[in-house]
């Protein structure tokens, strides 16, 4: 991707699609919003609700991943770093130090953001495979450390007895829905304007951005912070929903799941990533009987998307609808 015009169009297989305020998009958002609000009414089953709770969290995580990786060209292969940190922060503070619920929930994003500030400086200088590797390694380091520091973290077993978010399934549902709505909505709003353009320009050609007088670091850091905070909050909520946290929250599987959701739904479009989160969580739960092969399903969903719908399912659909409009 050297800016040579003959490669300008072929260089981007995973090209972020554009958000344009089209009626279809808004209508779909409104409809799905309404549907989601009323799920507890027409599907009051506890299991279904817990599935949706997970979907809310994943949608937010996918959106959080996308705001950094879909937009700035820093593909984060260790997003679990933020989620896991948020989860463990909440779990440890609530079980070991008996902090109140609202405190531990907030601790997640705060600690994750702190982590981002700490490593963001040197890390954001890296691009492409280097950044991917660094993030993969970072998550891996923390995964190892939870095992090594087992007196504190409970090792393989993890932390049990994390206080639940709420005893009512419906309340848990609405709290996580509110989080998802706020996260996705907030991230979408933040990236739809000029800032989103600058982020995408950074991805397209960072050197050219700087040549245009744009100091890229603050923008990248902003995206990283948003990404980390979203992940951290998803993590702490996750801890209170599952009432247990283990080393799997730092796993590569989680990082990859989030990536797949975003890619399938639409990289570079916050709403697409969120949609991917919902789609794949619900899909995998409905295929529950395959148990551990969830990732298999994801992977099989991913292949055709990457090969034939490189912008992601949602932008692809929207593109079709727009073309038919003319």
């Amino acid at each position: 991707m050297d800016g040579n015009p003959s490669s300008a169009s072929e260089g981007a297989v995973l090209v972020p699609a554009r958000t344009r305020g089209r009626p279809w998009g808004y209508a779909a958002a409104a409809a799905s919003g309404f549907l989601l609000l009323t799920v507890p009414v027409w599907l009051p089953d506890r299991y279904v609700l817990s599935t949706f709770v997970l979907a809310h969290l994943y949608a937010a995580m996918a959106a959080g991943w996308d705001v950094l990786s879909g937009f700035t060209g820093r593909e984060n292969f260790g997003y679990a770093l933020f989620v896991g940190t948020g989860a463990y922060a909440a779990a440890l503070l609530s079980t070991r130090l008996q902090f109140p619920l609202w405190c531990t929930i907030l601790a997640g994003p705060v600690v994750a953001a702190g982590l981002a500030l700490l490593v963001g400086g040197p890390a954001l200088r890296l691009r492409g495979p280097y950044f991917a590797l660094a993030s993969l390694a970072a998550a891996g380091v923390l995964e190892r450390m939870t095992l090594l520091l087992w007196p504190i973290t409970g090792g393989e077993e993890g932390v049990f007895g994390v206080p639940p978010l709420s005893l009512s399934a419906a309340t848990t549902y609405y709290v996580t829905l509110a989080f998802a709505a706020a996260a996705v909505g907030g991230l979408w709003w933040a990236t739809r304007g000029t800032w989103g353009l600058v982020l995408r320009a950074i991805r397209a050609n960072e050197a050219a951005c700087e040549a245009c007088g744009v100091h890229t670091f603050p923008h990248k850091m902003g995206a990283l912070l948003l990404s980390a905070t979203t992940g951290g909050l998803a993590g702490s909520l996750y801890a209170h929903v599952q009432e247990h946290v283990g080393p799997s929250v730092y796993s590569a599987a989680l990082s990859v799941t989030v990536i797949i959701m975003s890619v399938v739904g639409g990289v570079g479009t916050v709403y697409g990533a969120a949609a991917g989160g919902y789609l794949l969580t619900l899909l995998s739960e409905s295929l529950r009987r395959f148990g551990e092969y969830r990732l298999l399903v994801f992977a099989l969903a991913l292949l055709p998307v990457v090969l034939y719908m490189p912008r992601g399912v949602l932008p692809h659909l929207l593109g079709h609808l727009r073309r038919r409009e003319r």
Binding site: G3, G11, A204, A207, E210, C212, G213, V214
Partner: protein, 242 residues
């Protein structure tokens, strides 16, 4: 008043000496041409002047201020802007959006006196003759128009000095004429330009003073006619006695 001064710039890449002590001065309002055979160090010179690469030795003074080693975005913010030889458009964005990004820089905002980013971008596109392409994805543009887009982005910063890196390379005859016109207009409106170019015919029509580089050194300066007759220059281009 000298807008840009380079004093004894040195740059090596491992064992390769790209700049071996280059000094030059650019007067305000002039168009200076920089020529030399391939590998003479012209693009490296631009990289060093504009902050893309720090020099290993020497100084760069811009309007009297020492800008040696400052990063490229700072240099651009100060008013020294460069374009790239191999154009670097923001793929995936439209033509207008490409320019808008440049307009978000602090300097651009400051100097556009309260106009919206979009308006400023439109104005710049009109200035380079690309307004009719505003909504198109930048990937659709032919090379000649991409070059003009580069210039539009550079102009977003209202540069005091503009470094044009081979603006005419790769262009067909049809594309060259409008670009030549654009550059002339820019110069006439008072901009200071430094142009690296291989297409000597086009360059000589634009500039009144030329600096010749070879092997990282300045081997001649003067008017186009003087330089063309300089035996050292001829030797550099044609090889001379082996």
């Amino acid at each position: 008043m000298r807008s840009l001064v380079a004093r004894d710039l040195q740059k090596r890449f491992g064992g390769l000496v790209a700049l071996a002590g280059v000094s030059l001065e650019v007067e305000q309002g002039e168009i200076l041409g920089v020529i030399g055979p391939n590998g003479a160090g012209k693009t490296t010179l631009f990289h060093v002047l504009s902050g893309f690469l720090p020099p290993d030795g020497g100084k760069v003074l811009f309007r009297g201020q020492d800008i040696t080693g400052l990063p490229s975005y700072t240099v651009a913010q100060l008013g020294l802007v460069r374009t790239f030889q191999l154009v670097r458009p923001f793929a995936g964005l439209t033509v207008l959006e490409n320019v808008v990004v440049a307009c978000t820089s602090a300097r651009s905002r400051r100097l556009s006196r309260g106009r919206s980013l979009q308006d400023r971008a439109w104005e710049l596109l009109r200035q380079v003759g690309l307004a009719h392409r505003a909504a198109e994805p930048v990937d659709h543009l032919p090379f000649g128009e991409l070059k003009r887009l580069e210039i539009a982005r550079a102009l977003a910063l209202s540069p005091d000095v503009l470094l044009l890196d081979e603006p005419f390379s790769g262009l067909s005859a049809a594309e060259t004429a409008p670009l030549l016109e654009l550059v002339r207009t820019l110069s006439q409106s008072g901009a200071t330009l430094v142009v690296v170019e291989h297409k000597l015919r086009e360059l000589m029509q634009l500039v009144r003073r030329v600096v010749v580089l070879d092997f990282g050194r300045v081997i001649a300066t003067g008017t186009p006619e003087e330089v063309a007759r300089n035996p050292a220059v001829v030797r550099a281009y044609l090889g001379g006695a082996a």
